[in-house]
Amino acid sequence: MKTTNTTGGIGSLNRRSFLKASGASALAATIVPGLMTGTANAAYSGTLDMLAWDFQPDTIKSLVGEWTAAGNPAVNVAVIPNLGYTPALQTRLRGGDKIDLYYNFAYNSQKFINEGWAKTLNGLPGVNDMIADMFESARGRHVNAAGDIISAPYFSAVHMLHYNEKYLADAGLAVPTNLKEIYDASKALSTTTPAPYVAYWVKEFCEEYLHTYLLNEGITAFDTAGQPVFADDPKTVGVFEWWQTMYQEGLAPKSLLTDDPGKLSNEMAQGNAAFYVLHHYFLTSIRSLEGPQSANVRTAPAGPTTLQIGEVLQMGQSDSEDERAAAWDLMKYYGWKNTDGKFKVFNQWAKAAGLAAPYAGFFTDPEVIASFPDYYDLAMLSDTFATKSNVVPARTLPWYPDFQAKVGDIVHALLLGQATPGKTVEDLTAAVKGAHGGRTL
């Protein structure tokens, strides 16, 4: 029985019962948006500190400035580069810096709670409604196994297959729905497009693809205790065989192991690639490049399941209850809705780059719909969030960053032909066990 409180209504809950309760309260939350978003916090007169990474820093400051202008406390926003964000954040926190609210990578969220760098959101006014407002599929990222609410969303996305509609039509091919069909279609297209399949297979991102491909084939990677059940599924080896074959046969460019996603978007825009698997919002970058093939690129419906990702907002250590309350008001505004019940901040990110929010209401909000270009199939995207995506809750467990750091080495060895698919399963399993065990290289 992890949490007990009288104000927030979470009480003594495990995650299952909490999520059920959240679902039941969703309707009420939708009816009375004013209740869940809170109002300007007049009790705190100081300045809040917020740390973010540098995606559109002017927009961040403008959004936060609007919140302050509505009668809320001033916010000192510090923006640092995404590359090296975690080291910088950890160094500041370890050094005793007080940050009321900060961006964080979801895989760090539970660890930061455990280290005392972030506080749970349990019991804060409206927090249950915020969770209830989310897609059920997304809640596992923000609510841990004990029922504690560890973060709010910063943005969310799903891994999707982007494809060149014209290339497939010209070759008489249907849109592939699983890994084998992707291989077959890539093979067929390779006569005219030598390496038709691109994906962001750099070391740091291999872990996302591990889950994306496993989920595509209906394989669950981890059980609720974080044990590597993928190792017991006979289909797992098949996924690694496919992965290795795509690279070894040259159906994916050899340069993928170090290519940037921007370059890959350009490969699609220029027509040098026909398939691109990455977050749904990369469709924006492909289209906005206005290359000769940009307009022909579409997003395919997800297979049985795909990976849902998202980065988070966490609450740091505030000096007083008033300050914490003010920080929570800011967090609600930034990671949910404004006091008018509008997805003010998320809508801005949607306009800027096609980023999404893990809320069903986000996809039906007329202002949000108007923010997405016509080439987005929002109904399909919403359905993917709702029923065809998985956040893999183990990805927020405290040992997970250790495992994640090793996946790149192991998958690259597979792709380079230095390890067999069977050995890759063994190495990944050993990496999970090592991460569970603590200190390993």
């Binding site: 080291p87 070391k203 192991l257 170090t258 080495d409 200190r439 390993t440």
Partner: protein
């Protein structure tokens, strides 16, 4: 003295002490004392030894090329030719560029699809296709070495040029009168004159080689696989991804000792030759 203690001694001692503890990520205490357990974990790990191999290969290439190219550039820029002032000014540009920017520049230059390096090789007829230098395990490490050398050689060149400019012209003139050829003048006048500067440059190069992180991280993140995973990348991963402060500190101590020993060996080697 106090400032030195704060800036150098305290962090060094603290890192050494951390390396003997299982330090909590929050840094709120030293955590439990584990003796040499962190070192045992490191020395028994194949990941560490593979990283040592990569670091040594990188370092040897970096030190040799930086020093030799720096020396060549210094000698060239010490000659009289039109545009020498501009050429000397250009020498400063790589050195004035941050390591991280060098890494990003070279990542694009060596790109397997749109990189300038491939274009140059094609134009020169040295290649008939674009090569993914950074994704190929055979070329990734050499390319990161070249990128790092591009900056460090200019630093070496600047220092060595300063040394050459203090060399009296009369020594060359006398040697020429005695019939000494270019090689004899180089080995008997230039090199001995530059020896103090060369020692400094080489020691700097050794230290920069072992501590190199930015260029490698920006270009390959240590990949593909573990091909370019130098020790500093491993330290970064332990300290900031896994937050194993104790283990990361032990790796930092090992790297510090290796860099120190490497630097001292260079000094000793030069002075032993001088004694002979």
């Amino acid at each position: 003295m106090m400032l030195l203690a704060v800036l150098l001694a305290v962090p060094t001692v603290l890192t050494a002490v951390y390396s003997l503890h299982d330090v909590p990520a929050s840094g709120s205490s030293f955590g439990p004392f584990v003796g040499i357990e962190n070192y045992t974990i490191i020395f028994s790990s194949p990941v560490f030894w593979r990283s040592v191999q990569v670091t040594l290969t990188f370092s040897i290439g970096f030190v040799v090329l930086s020093t030799l190219i720096g020396l060549a550039m210094a000698m060239l820029l010490n000659q009289r030719f039109i545009g020498r002032g501009l050429a000397r000014a250009l020498l400063i540009i790589p050195w004035a560029t941050p390591w991280l920017v060098i890494g990003i520049l070279w990542k694009w230059f060596a790109d397997g699809s749109v990189g300038g390096l491939n274009a140059v090789l094609l134009m020169l007829g040295l290649s008939d296709t674009y090569h993914p230098f950074l994704s190929d395990p055979n070329t990734a490490l050499p390319i990161t070495v070249i990128a790092a050398v591009w900056r460090q050689a200019s630093f070496a060149g600047i220092l060595l040029l300063a040394g050459l400019q203090s060399l009296p012209e009369e020594l060359y003139e006398a040697a020429q009168l005695d019939g000494a050829n270019w090689w004899q003048r180089f080995t008997n006048i230039t090199l001995p004159w530059l020896k103090p500067v060369l020692i400094t440059v080489t020691v700097f190069n050794v230290i920069y080689a072992f501590l190199q992180f930015d260029v490698v991280f920006a270009m390959t993140q240590g990949g593909p696989g573990d091909t370019t995973q130098v020790l500093s990348v491993l330290i970064y991963r332990q300290l900031f991804v896994n937050t194993n402060i104790g283990l990361g500190s032990a790796l930092a101590v090992i790297l510090g000792v290796v860099a120190l020993v490497g630097g001292l060996m260079i000094v000793k080697m030069f002075y032993r030759r001088e004694a002979l």
